[in-house]
Amino acid sequence: METVTITMKNPPALYLEADNVSPDTFAGKTAAQIGDLSVHEGNTTSTLGKYFEISGNAGASAADTKIVIKGDVKKVKYLGFKMSAGEVAVEGSTDQYAGAWMTGGKMQVKGNVDAFAGIAMKGGELSIEGNAGNYLGAAYRGDWRGMSGGRILVKGDAGSDIGMYMTGGEMIINGNVDVHVCTHAEGGKVIIKGNAKTKVGGQMVDGTIFVFGTIDVMMPGFKPAGEVEMEVDGVKGKFAHYIGDTGERHKKKKGQVVYANLYKKI
């Protein structure tokens, strides 16, 4: 695997949209060619090389390419956009749409990410060592197709509206989350090791949420379905089981109504 290192030297005054920073676009290009790829700052289109120092050539394919991003990229959006293979490692924090629409490969962020990270993600692994913002693994505005595959791991906290319209895949949040978890979800699994606030699983028709900590206010549409002993992500324990959202339309499978499941650790 070849490594391309891009280092922020000339930070943008506005926010920078760097949707070309992915192993798929870098593949087969030399450092000089990578520097010529376009980026947008406000309404101005310029080149990646104007902001970043680029060293190393990319591999022949996305799978053979690793991108290491150094320096302050807190104002850079769309890192790892639509990546299908290879690796992206961000050494600091980054702005919105990190790993958005990714379908494969691995993306790792040492710091925090802002909103819309991993939205409509189909595959691959996105791991965030700091905190994640709102709409993590959610659907694009207006769309009904959220995260459908892959894994998102967050060591810190996550914001609101995570997993909105999620249909598959897995999300593990080690810290706490803000309001609205898995709204409208039709599948997938979300594990919250900290606390949740309100509207957990609102309008959810399928899929599973685990909450290890507290839930401030339960949705009235979820009803108790007993207690179960189980092991979740290496943690054994007793969970209160709820099914819902009973205010919604639900599919039937083999004559049985399919509900979303909410497990809260006791």
């Binding site: 659907a139 694009y140 505005r141 207006g142 769309d143 009904w144 339309r249």
Partner: protein
């Protein structure tokens, strides 16, 4: 204005009966002429196809329900935006493009005139603001009449003269072009939570049937002698078995002759007939009745139709048929918007994915093509996708490919997950007709222009007509090796002229033209009763005053083209 001569192209012009002969087309002062001077700019069309600019007879491209789709489907613009480039302003959207993109896309495919198929009269100002902002193409809008309280009240007592006077008034104040009917009575019934699924279901409160509404409006339309006929989306759209309702609707035109000075021969235009040609009793035994519908249409010369081809895309359905959209959201569980337009109409919007993996969608695709292939008179059957309902208008080149090539149809049939269903529930698999370029010119140019009463102006290349010309990079002398070449050629014109101005060169917009809004100004005898009724309705029911109703002046219709009709001498 400049002079042009388009030299040595293969010309297809049904108006003059030219079937691909090598000929020159001369343009001067915005019109087609016999000859031009030696200083005329020469366009080399050797080995290319030359046709008149195409005429769109039915699409939803401007107004409140289109905009509702744009507002509530931001995802339709995802990854489809194009920035400002050359003559083009920024645009975006796939099934519901922005106004600018709409104009550019039509022009690039060689379309120069388009009809907005359903204008809610109350929102005519909005419709005209969007039409104004759609560059290049000439446009007109059809106000909807089929659920309008005035119409329901007049026709209940069969008052044709009053209905006609009201139509004349409404066309004038909304700058409308033709009489459109959507689910007659059914959308009004929807305001009561009901629907009219047959032509004999009574409309609640008004106590009138869809049959009475349709027949009355045809009579009023012919009383006035409007350029276009009644343009109808019948009751019971999109349901298995709906073809019987469609036949009942078509029979309402029996025995009525067209009366107008525009050369129009039909008294009823059945739109998006694909959605109205379904047999079966449920989605399991759903089948094509394209043959039954086209057999009837082939025999009855006072009817024209358009196809409404399903293009197998993700799209946005939108119609003034409010109850149908509610039914649809119940089927696909996607987001639903509903709008009521006081006293006049209503509408609904639901996204829809015509998936090639779903048997019903594949059968719908086949039915649309069957209708075109079974129609004996291409001058009476026009290609549409009921944009955006069965697919975006930008797919016309693909529909043309399917119609012109059995090889392309077979390839698509073989790609379906439920190929067997397409073969057992429709007749498409046994059809080997390939539509010719001449027939394409009939179905997209001369035919719709004649049906709209515009045959003297557009849809042909006869000297004296507007110089709307499309040059396609397609050589009819060479055999088609790959059907995709047809799609490619029809997607982006080599040259397009609109009213004598070159607007497209090599698939790129080079001029924004002088876009016009067509509307029909009918003079009728003074009718104090109707004027009093209009006053009274505004005082009693409308939430706005009459002074704020009219689409008037330069802001709304900056460049009008008025079609004048005189109905003051009509004897009943």
């Amino acid at each position: 204005m400049s002079e042009y001569i388009i030299k040595n192209g293969h010309v297809f012009d049904p108006v003059q009966g030219v079937k691909g002969d090598k000929a020159d087309v001369s343009i001067k002062d915005g019109k087609i002429v016999d000859k031009v001077g030696s200083g005329a700019k020469v366009i080399d069309a050797k080995g290319k196809t030359v046709m008149a600019g195409a005429v769109e007879i039915h699409a939803h491209i401007a107004g409140p329900k289109v905009n509702m789709g744009r507002i509530y489907r931001p995802e339709d613009k995802l990854f489809t935006c194009t920035p400002t480039r050359g003559m083009e302003r920024m645009g975006g959207g796939n099934s519901i493009p922005t106004t600018f993109k709409t104009g550019y896309e039509y022009a690039k495919m060689g379309y120069t005139t388009a009809m907005e198929a359903a204008m809610p009269p109350l929102f005519s100002r909005h419709v005209h603001e969007e039409i104004r902002d759609t560059p290049i193409i000439d446009e007109a809008a059809f106000p909807v009449f089929g659920n309008n309280w005035f119409v329901l009240e007049y026709l209940k007592d069969h008052e044709i003269e009053n209905t006609a006077a009201y139509i004349a008034w409404l066309l004038r104040v909304t700058k409308g072009y033709a009489v459109k009917v959507v689910n007659p009575g059914g959308t009004e019934a929807w305001a009561w939570g009901l629907n009219c699924l047959s032509v004999n279901d009574p409309v609640p409160y008004f106590d009138i049937t869809p049959a009475e509404i349709v027949k009355g409006l045809i009579e009023a339309n012919e009383y006035l002698g409007l350029p276009h006929s009644l343009h109808i989306h019948p009751n019971n759209l999109g349901n298995p078995g709906c073809y019987e309702t469609t036949l009942d609707t078509l029979k309402l035109a029996e025995g009525i002759k067209a009366r107008n000075k525009f050369g129009r021969e039909q008294v009823m235009h059945l739109t998006h007939s694909q959605f109205h040609s379904y047999g079966g009793t449920n989605w399991g035994d759903f089948e094509s009745k394209a043959k039954e519908i086209t057999d009837y249409v082939n025999k009855n010369k006072n009817i024209t139709i358009d196809t409404g081809n399903v293009t197998l895309d993700e799209t946005t359905t939108m119609t003034a048929d409010g109850p149908f959209e509610h039914h649809l959201t119940g089927l696909n569980h996607l987001k639903w918007a509903n709008i009521d337009v006081e006293l006049e109409t209503g509408s609904g919007v639901v996204p829809y994915i015509y998936s090639p993996n779903i048997s019903v969608c594949a059968i719908q695709w086949a039915i649309g093509l069957e209708i075109a292939l079974l129609s004996k008179d291409p001058m009476r059957c026009y290609i549409t996708t009921d944009h955006p309902n069965a697919g975006p208008f930008t797919r016309y080149p693909r529909v043309i490919k399917w119609l012109m090539s059995t090889k392309a149809r077979e390839a698509q049939i073989n790609a379906f997950k439920h190929k067997d269903k397409v073969l057992s529930q429709t007749g498409l698999g046994t059809m080997d007709r390939e539509i010719s370029l001449y027939e394409i010119a009939q179905m997209t140019r001369a035919g719709p222009a004649k049906s709209l009463g515009l045959s003297g102006m557009c849809g042909g290349l006869k000297p004296g007509m507007d110089a709307d010309v499309a040059v396609y990079d397609f050589n009819p002398d060479k055999p088609v090796v790959n059907p995709d070449d047809i799609e490619k050629a029809f997607s982006r014109c080599a040259h397009v002229f609109k009213s004598g101005v070159e607007v497209v060169t090599n698939g790129e917009i080079v001029n924004n033209g002088h876009k016009r809004t067509l509307w029909v100004n009918v003079k009728v005898k003074e009718n104090p009763q109707v004027m009093r009724d209009i006053n009274e309705k505004f005082l009693k029911y409308y939430s706005i005053t009459q002074a704020n109703y009219e689409a008037l002046g330069h802001h709304f219709v900056p460049n009008p083209y008025t079609v004048e009709v005189d109905a003051t001498q009509v004897q009943v």
